[in-house]
């Protein structure tokens, strides 16, 4: 979440609660509902690293609020983040390790592992279908994210079939 908050602060200075709202507004249903405590902890770390700085703003009848803004160093870090290619998904996942190792010990057979994993992927896909149907058509960011997750799952399922053909 560090860099996500930093990016929002590079757009405009904000206090913690405004960041929570900005996350919700930008990502719609696509961001796990951010917890305000977590946001303050993250801001504290960013401040310690010199990527953001805070100023106290006086409020009438209320305690001062801290408004955070992005520093020049923060901008440099963001630029690096944006310029770097992002790691792709990891294929040698825990399931693959099970598929290779579990049959060696006799604790599970490959066909059963593959079948269980297929059901699991399909049930995730069912959830994504439901979610897509429930998501407002104008929540473009959430819909894109759902579609991306579906394409990943499709690839996982195709790959599962390849594993079955080769290993069964």
């Amino acid at each position: 979440m560090r860099l996500h908050l930093l990016a929002l602060l590079a757009k405009e200075p904000a206090h913690g609660y405004e960041l929570k709202q900005a996350l919700e507004q930008t990502f719609g249903g696509a961001y796990p509902s951010p917890n305000i405590g977590q946001i303050y902890v993250t801001l504290g770390r960013l401040e310690k690293d010199g990527l953001v700085r805070a100023v106290d703003v006086e409020q009438s009848n209320r305690p001062n609020k801290k408004v955070y803004y992005c520093t020049a160093k923060g901008r440099d870090v963001l630029t690096l983040w944006a310029d770097e290619p992002t790691e792709g998904p990891r294929v040698r996942d825990e399931f693959f390790m099970k598929l290779v190792l579990a049959p060696l010990t006799g604790i599970a057979d490959r066909m059963a592992l593959i079948n269980r994993q297929r059901r699991h992927y399909l049930s995730l896909m069912g959830d994504l279908n439901d979610l897509q149907a429930r998501t407002a058509p104008d929540d473009r960011v959430a819909l894109l994210l759902i579609e991306g997750a579906m394409l990943h799952l499709q690839a996982d399922l195709d790959w599962l079939e390849r594993c079955q053909e080769d290993l069964a």
Binding site: P32, M111, D127, D158
Partner: protein, 243 residues
């Protein structure tokens, strides 16, 4: 208890035309309850097409039993099978099989008429189905002038036209882009909610994700048969891990 919508007992298919016999389906037992949506999956060559073709009476079985509703079907004559199919089964082929000499509208209305619908019912059904699949403006075209994706959607509309008690489909979304797949998914979801029984061969995870149950074939045998559960609710963010 009502009869299962579809039942196969120890179903076997051996293709014996070639130099060596091919055991395409080796003793499949399958029972599909009314209203169930079953996705049939498995690698290429595992016998999926052969199985659903036999279930629809489009390919003869070598041995075993097929029941449609409460009727034993595998022992029927070809013409009696055809009659049963007309009333009770909708079939979507992998390669469409539309009637080239008829318009899209007639391709869809014909099975409804053959199934016993009045001309008015057949027309209304056709209008609804073509509308749902975003094909209304293609109604008067001939199938040859349509894209692969459009032909495939017409084939689905045709298969649903007579409100069959079982919809059988062999990879009905193979030629669709993601927008058209969404239309197809929505229609399948809708007819399934209305109680349509569906047995569908598919590699498309989105389509299979709509199903209640998955049957996996491997080398002509059922290697898995179980329910697809739904557990999660909540926002996309909660389901999808942002790394």
């Amino acid at each position: 208890m009502s009869d299962p919508a579809l039942k196969a007992v120890n179903l076997v298919k051996v293709y014996s035309g070639g130099a060596v016999p091919v055991h395409a389906v080796r003793g499949v037992d399958l029972q599909v309850e009314p209203g169930e949506f079953v996705a049939v999956m498995g690698p290429s060559g595992s016998g999926k097409s052969t199985l659903v073709h036999m279930l629809g009476g489009l390919d003869t079985r070598t041995s075993g039993e097929i029941w449609v509703g409460g009727t034993r079907a595998d022992t029927l004559s070809e013409s009696a099978w055809a009659l049963l199919r007309r009333k009770k089964i909708g079939f979507v082929f992998q390669f469409f099989n539309l009637v080239a000499s008829m318009t899209v509208a007639d391709n869809v209305e014909l099975p409804a008429l053959l199934g016993g619908a009045s001309p008015r019912e057949a027309r209304e059904r056709r209008e609804h189905l073509l509308g749902a699949l975003n094909l209304t403006d293609r109604a008067d075209a001939s199938p040859a002038r349509l894209s692969g994706g459009e032909q495939q959607r017409v084939a689905l509309a045709r298969a649903l036209a007579n409100k069959p008690s079982v919809l059988l489909a062999d990879e009905p979304t193979g030629n669709l882009d993601s927008r058209n797949t969404r239309d197809v998914l929505r229609l399948l979801g809708e007819v399934h909610r209305d109680g349509q029984t569906i047995v569908m061969v598919t590699h498309d995870a989105r389509v299979a994700g709509l199903a209640d149950r998955v049957v996996a074939l491997f080398d002509g045998e059922v290697v898995d048969d179980g329910r697809i559960t739904r557990r999660r609710t909540g926002t996309a963010g909660a389901v999808i891990d942002l790394r």
